[in-house]
């Protein structure tokens, strides 16, 4: 199995993205020559995740994140970071170590092409008020449009389960300056439990 691809030269988000694109191209070439049945297809690989993340990555459980509809580059990066241990996890590291980088790219492609499905819970104005204010002051420059915007570096937050977002924010706070990106870690570090909870509720309310 190919070794993890994280090296100094590829540690910038864009660098990683181009590297991923290169893998995709290599994969396409490789697949053309090999018998189809030796390469595990994207749906074959990705459908195994649905037992935890829901059919097509639309989660029905409040602590498990919805992953269907996130950007391809982001998904690839996150899964690679779980694999190398760069991103803390309870279980994703153990799972991602079972896949080659080419396979991770195929899985990312699969989930990126699924529709995003926001949770169906309604927001409570009182609960999200503080979160909205913090968001506008400290987070909106990167997480635009109420967290609806996403790209290959950062995920959509709007409509995600608040329980999961809170778990992610607590991890970031615990890592402090080591949380990626550092600018976010520096801000999240100083937030209280109540503030994090309200932020998580705010993002979930933005469908």
């Amino acid at each position: 199995m190919p070794r993890p691809l994280r090296t100094a030269s590829t540690s910038s988000p864009t660098g990683r993205f181009w590297l991923a694109a290169g893998i995709a191209a290599a994969l396409a070439l490789g697949a053309a020559g090999a018998p189809a049945s030796d390469v595990r297809s994207a749906p074959m690989l990705a459908n195994t995740c649905a037992g935890c993340h829901g059919t097509d990555g639309a989660s029905a459980g409040d602590y498990m994140p919805t992953i269907g509809g996130l950007a391809k580059g982001y998904l690839f990066e996150v899964m690679s970071d779980y694999k190398t241990g760069l991103r803390p996890s309870t279980i994703m590291g153990r799972i991602m170590r079972g896949y080659s980088d080419q396979e991770i790219w195929a899985i990312a492609d699969f989930y990126a092409s699924r529709p995003w499905v926001s949770t169906d819970r309604i927001g409570e104005a009182a609960a999200v008020h503080v979160g909205e204010q913090i968001h506008e002051q400290q987070c909106a420059t990167c997480h635009e449009d109420g967290g609806r915007a996403q790209d290959d570096d950062s995920p959509r937050l709007a409509g995600q389960w608040s329980e999961y977002t809170l778990y992610a924010l607590e991890n970031c706070r615990e890592q402090g300056k080591r949380c990626s990106p550092r600018k976010m870690g520096l801000r999240v570090m100083d937030l209280s439990d109540e503030e994090l909870t309200s932020l998580a509720d705010y993002y979930e309310s933005q469908k």
Binding site: M1, A36, S37, A50, T55, T90, I91, I95, R97, G98
Partner: protein, 424 residues
Amino acid sequence: MTDLTRRRFLSASAALAAAGLGLPMIGRAAPKARVVVVGGGYAGAIAAKYLQRTAPEIRVTLIEKSPYYVSCPLSNEVLSGERDLDSLTFDYRGLTRRGINVMQDEIVEVDPAQHFVRGAGGNRYNYDRLVIAPGVDYRWDAIDGMTEAAAEVVPHAWKAGPQTELLRRQLEAMDDGGVFIIVAPPNPFRCPPGPYERAAQVAHYFKVHKPKSKILLLDAKDAFSKQALFQAGWKAHYGDMIEWVPGAAGGIVEGIDPDSRTLIGQVDDYPGDVVNLIPHQRAGKLAQVAGLADDSGWCPVDPRSFESTIHPDIHVIGDACIAGAMPKSGYAANSQGKVCAAAIAAALNGDPLPAPSYVNTCYSLIAPDHGISVAGVYELNDGAIVGVPDSGGVSPADADARTRAIEAKFARSWFSNITADMFT
């Protein structure tokens, strides 16, 4: 599926039909290929859904003897009083809405030569491909004195439903200071961590309501799944309440006197106040009736397709099949159902069988805020299902309380997602 393969499939079946009936093809709708799935549990429900999703041109019929499904996963929490059976009960309307024919019937006969199965009332279902997912059956003859009737006195509670409620009532009626005995079966059996999670869940109930009571785990084996994590968790939450007796130390049970609830071990006899005897197991009865099991009692299959190596065009998935390194779990059954569905769609289309990918995860709850897990990612290697090197494994032994608590949350969300994957 691409348009090209769909067209190929339709014209192939139309040509077949025309050949068989000697009729001109023009003006006749091509008959759809028929796949019949028997058993609507963790394996069968998923095979039916994913087949219908990937290949809508196939007619999928799911036959299940019960109008609703009660999940074994999380049913140990019914024993602790943390939840009720309703929260584990599902119906099949989500699958009918997807266009799957769901029939309530019990299949009693399989005719591999003529390609049909028959229900208890005489209904006949023809198939091009058959999927059998009947779960497990018990070997009542393995323990002297144990019978199906005795299970009304010493419940197994290894299929969730009335048996689970019976065991819960017995635990509620037991006096404080009583002895609860769990008899754990030899490998292979459904849910390797299940008996040990059960011990913890019952201890959780005793701790609050009957703190002087004891739990004795008589095991046919000398080691078990997630053993170190369980033993550390038992100790941390319940002190010395749970005592595990491995096979080598006298844990092997050879007989039972159900009326006195006394277990007859190789060395000692063990009288209990409440006894939960989990019988030795084999593939579900239908698999035995259909001659799909080998001497081991389980069904040999080609792991790429889960097609029986005994009867062609019949696939066996879930607990009933022999699946290499994969344990008999709900997650494994889910994963196998998807591999099987992809293989059947390919086979009916005349495409090469796809390369398979399999995953397993089992969460266990030691206390409401203490979850542990085991995960495995598998691949096909030299015709066998093996774990991918360096992947998978169990929760770390030194995890902090926050991690244990969040794993318990993930366990419950896992349940929401895997059941939504099956039933919506």
